[in-house]
Symmetry: C2
Subunit: 308 residues, 2 copies
């Protein structure tokens, strides 16, 4: 079976809405995914900002099935499928591949700390072998501030050597441009796609041959981030980057996930969007007011967003 | 429905055997659980040393069902049931309670770092409310070197106030006696049971009114640890503690989990026991020889242990 073209550009780790009983809210999720797609954004559903690890495997698969059934193109999807357990990772990855998703974004197993590259190699290798599907494209997910366990160049080198068509790239959420550049320099020429984990590094990444960004704020400041991805060679690219940074600074002044949900709820006139699953807590009204006032001052909008 | 007596003493975070395809090996697991019980040890199955987070929820439930079907008394069990997702935690906790287990050892959700006590309170509260069973006894699991997210006295205070019959104690795997003592001093008088996470602190814990220990090495040095629990008031208690420490030093000189599995495999003449799931890796033969020689020099044995 032939592979689809590589997924590139701006992807959103789609925030996951919950109902009042803390169950995933499928209608709101589909609505938000459709809006993101309408803005030119791809879907890295079930990422850190999706509270994916606060969901069960079955809840994640049901949500993916729901957006597929709603007609969203899997070629625009790179769902998160990396778990602490290879059993869970295999189940989610297999499900994503069979659905035709363009890629799978894979956290390393993150419970044990200080594990060896050999152990991480075996984790990814075991998953690739068990899934056993030529269409599989894995994107390694490096997010040391949260997962603590990270991805090294040594690990990538070994995986690329043994699974050249399958290990397609990475998401670097270290927030450290020097680290992203290191992976680009080491592997970029082989077609290894580096997505930065924040749009604040999008321009730098594009200028160095990167593939785009997968960023929390792509849930809300979507069109503007996509615009810079498309226009990074333009004369006003640096000005665009500065404008993105200003929005990000306001959005991320408290905890990012509840802030994003509050913003989506505000602009879609659907305040129940603010619900998060423990261990996260929603923003206080005072915090939310500061975020929303700050965005208003920047002329921020979410055009075309409506309640589900 | 009335509660069973509190579980106390020495509990083993039972190491989980895997077959050559990395699937849980039920026969070996039952065999090891029965041996542990025969040595006077309780079963904290599905702990850190059990590679529990490397298992799926279904794999964990199937293993618990298997030892129950093998006739092992659930009053001697405190399975680990705390996951990153409340959906998973509720499912595992409900299953353990319905099986009649004496307690449930609950990690905090450990993916997001820097979360608030309010968020952790909501996590435990939500699980307790959803399980909704008077028989439930929760033991909070504090293991900051691995989970990073930890349990504070402020969290325990709130939970004890709202769920006094349900929040029964904790396992402190900080390895810091000052921390264990802090919880004993704050809550011991209310009947809150503190288990230390290493037998190296067992004597100190018993002298301060603690409930016992839940320790990796209880998988192998079982009878000797149980003996100190029973004889901690004896004149030779300090000498017993020193002997336990000497065995632990040898056992833990490399990574603990593969070392334990290698030891069980050696003394049961069943070398396939050494298999671990990624991201862990087995000991090298050289490392294993050092561990086994070290134990032999201390006169270490595992009496009555045989292959499954």
């Amino acid at each position: 079976m032939s592979k689809t073209p590589r997924i590139k550009g701006v992807l959103s780790p789609v925030v996951t809405p919950f109902d009042n009983d803390l169950n995933p809210d499928t209608a709101r999720f589909i609505n938000h995914c459709k809006w993101l797609i309408s803005q030119g954004c791809g879907l890295a559903a079930f990422g850190t900002n999706s509270e994916a690890n606060s969901l069960s495997v079955n809840e994640r698969m049901a949500l993916l099935d729901a957006i597929l059934a709603a007609g969203i193109d899997p070629a625009r999807m790179m769902p998160g499928t990396g778990c602490c357990s290879i059993s869970d990772s295999v189940r989610l990855t297999e499900h994503a591949v069979k659905a035709g998703c363009a890629g799978a974004l894979m956290l390393p197993p993150f419970y044990y700390k200080g594990v060896s590259d050999e152990g991480l190699y075996r984790n990814y290798s075991e998953i690739i072998e068990r899934v056993g599907d030529d269409r599989l494209r894995i994107y390694l997910y490096h997010i040391p501030p949260v997962a603590v366990v990270g991805i090294t160049t040594g690990l990538v080198e070994r995986l690329l050597k043994d699974y050249p068509g399958t290990v397609a790239g990475m998401k670097d959420s270290s927030g450290d441009w020097i680290n992203s550049k290191k992976f680009l320099d080491a592997f970029g020429s082989t077609g290894f796609d580096v997505f930065v984990g924040s749009e604040s590094l999008l321009l730098a990444n594009m200028r160095s041959g990167g593939a785009g960004c997968i960023s929390a704020t792509a849930n809300v400041n979507t069109a503007a981030i996509v615009k810079l991805y498309e226009e990074w060679k333009n004369a006003d690219a640096d000005a665009q980057q500065e404008a993105l940074n200003a929005v990000r600074k306001v959005t991320g002044q408290y905890v990012m996930i509840p802030a994003l949900k509050r913003i989506v709820g505000h602009y879609s006139k659907d305040p129940d969007w603010s619900t998060v699953r423990p261990p996260l807590v929603e923003l206080t009204d005072e915090q939310a007011t500061k975020v929303l006032d700050g965005l208003r001052a920047l002329g921020f909008t979410m055009p075309g967003l409506a309640a589900a």
